[in-house]
């Protein structure tokens, strides 16, 4: 009986067949996925990347809630045309605190990975409220309720605790001050200890309504931060070819 005949064992015993299939498939995982967790050369530490502030995190939650990812990707691929249009290609490290990441491939609208600081807060407010008032042919829906709805900061600390379990370095201090930091970042007044906890975080009245922290404040704070954490003037492209 040659070796070829042995497949009769698999064909006649479904459990053995399933185990065999699992072993074959796990080879793919072992070779293609597992090494990414330990290979030094695939894990890039980049200066400037920090966990999201509570306000940005709240904005990110609204981004997910409203399904912005259905039309917008957040990854500039390392392709010529993308770099020409959107700027420096995205680094894996730039989404290291994203759970889950927003890379995506659906692009009914432009990629948003570097949209931070590209437009003014006023533009973002008006665009979220009524995209066609600025871009007549736009197919993006309006989100007029964001500016009218006060931001719920009650569960931010809990969300941060969960992210901490997943490896985002939120300290106990950051978690306990979540609501305070969220309110501080959404005002033009001195944000206090915010930038001590979150270096280079920008605080201002993003949403435009004085005295109220709205969902628009959170979402615009998030959008204006996207792609701005890494300073590409000092990032060494040549040393990081991979």
């Amino acid at each position: 009986m040659s070796l070829w005949q042995k497949h009769a064992i698999f064909e006649k015993n479904s459990i053995i067949l399933i185990i065999g299939v699992l072993i074959m498939i796990s080879f793919g995982g072992l070779i293609e996925i597992l090494p990414l967790f330990y290979l030094k050369s695939t894990i890039e530490k980049v200066d400037g990347v920090r966990p999201y502030t509570p306000l940005e995190l709240a904005g990110r939650n609204i981004y997910l809630r409203e399904g912005c990812y259905n039309c917008h990707s957040q990854m500039i691929r390392s392709l010529r045309d993308e770099v020409e249009r959107y700027g420096h290609y995205s680094l894996a490290a730039e989404s290291m605190y994203d759970h889950p990441f927003q890379w995506g491939s659906k692009r009914n609208g432009p990629d948003l990975a570097r949209v931070g600081n590209k437009y003014s807060d006023e533009w973002q407010r008006q665009h979220l409220n009524d995209p066609r008032s600025l871009v007549p042919g736009s197919i993006m829906p309006g989100y007029p309720w964001l500016a009218k709805t006060e931001l719920d900061t009650n569960h931010l600390d809990q969300h941060m605790s969960v992210l901490a379990l997943e490896g985002v370095p939120y300290s106990a201090d950051m978690i306990s001050k979540a609501a305070i930091d969220a309110k501080a970042q959404a005002s033009d007044e001195d944000p206090g200890e915010l930038t001590k906890r979150y270096p280079k975080a920008v605080a201002r009245n993003f949403g435009g309504r004085p005295g109220v922290v709205t969902e628009a404040d959170a979402l615009i704070a998030y959008l204006q931060m996207l792609g701005t954490q890494v300073d590409f003037k000092i990032y060494d492209d040549k040393a990081n070819l991979r």
Partner: protein, 294 residues
């Protein structure tokens, strides 16, 4: 692939096809091999994969991975592609970088190139605010008329694009309109009078019974410092001409009163850090030649 006894070929009497010789409860399995073309593709892919593994990065090792014969990487690849794009555009880009803005407009070939590049960059970066043709919208300046807030000469436009307006950049164009109502500088009645006065400056209809002298007085005391005694504006401060019937925020009384109440000062971002010098130059020429360049 072969039958139990390779010497005896069993053939199914109904179909005339050979069987594998397997038998389950009297049912036999027909032996229909994979088509030849399919097998050829399979084996060709297997052979191809060996070549791929040698040429491209493939096998994970202990702390690194095999980098392939030529050390290919996707990041290196895009850098090379961008360089070759630069080389392709090289002569024109160099000419653009070397020429002054005025010279670019005098040289038809350079002008065509600059406008083409400017147009593409305008679509990606400026159109969301200024409109696809530069026509602007409420609060976002029209760029194809000859009414300029900050100056319509090439150098003025270049400075506006580079550093933005109220953008927070150190060299940004700055100066905003105070919030006369919110900050309690003017009363509601005074705001109404001066708003009517502003309308009268360009001959627009005003409310009945409006006291022009009183309006003029409020204007002189509160507005003339920025908008000029005749309301003709001041480009150094970005305060618009109020006499020309061209409105940034709208020429009806409600819009004017809204501005008086909450102030005005729309932001245009700075582009020096986002776009390279050549692109900004091309954009300058593009905007200048949209129709209203001075």
């Amino acid at each position: 692939m072969s039958s139990t006894n390779p010497n005896v070929k069993m053939v199914d009497s109904h179909t005339g096809t050979a069987t594998t010789g397997h038998e389950w409860d009297g049912i036999q399995e027909l032996n229909t091999p994979l088509p030849r073309w399919w097998l050829i593709i399979l084996w060709a892919s297997v052979i191809w994969s060996f070549g791929y593994v040698v040429v491209y990065p493939a096998i994970p090792l202990v702390s690194s991975f095999t980098t392939g014969m030529f050390g290919w990487s996707s990041r290196g690849d895009v850098a090379a592609e961008l360089n070759s794009l630069k080389a392709l555009r090289g002569p024109m880009v160099n000419a653009l970088n070397g020429a002054t803005l005025a010279d670019i407009e005098k040289d038809p070939k350079l002008l065509t190139f600059a406008r083409a590049q400017g147009k593409a960059a305008f679509g990606d970066n400026c159109a969301p605010c200024h409109g696809a043709g530069g026509g602007g919208s409420k609060g976002f300046a029209n760029l194809n008329d000859d009414d300029w807030l900050w100056g319509g000469k090439l150098e003025d436009i270049q400075a506006t694009i580079s550093f933005g307006v109220r953008s927070g950049h150190g060299k940004a164009r700055d100066g905003s309109m105070p919030a006369f109502g919110r900050d309690g500088i003017l009363k509601t009645a005074e705001m109404s009078q001066v708003a009517d006065y502003v309308l009268s400056l360009s001959g627009l209809p005003t409310d009945k019974g409006f006291d022009k002298a009183a309006g003029a007085k409020i204007f002189e005391e509160n507005c003339a410092a920025c908008h000029g005694p005749e309301g003709k504006g001041d480009m150094a401060l970005g305060s618009p001409n109020l006499t020309d019937k061209i409105w940034l925020f709208g020429g009806d009384k409600a819009s004017i009163t809204e501005g008086l109440t909450n102030g005005r000062g729309n932001v245009m971002p700075a582009w020096v850090d986002r776009l390279d010098d050549t692109t900004i130059k091309a954009l300058t020429v593009y905007v200048h030649t949209l129709g209203g360049g001075k």
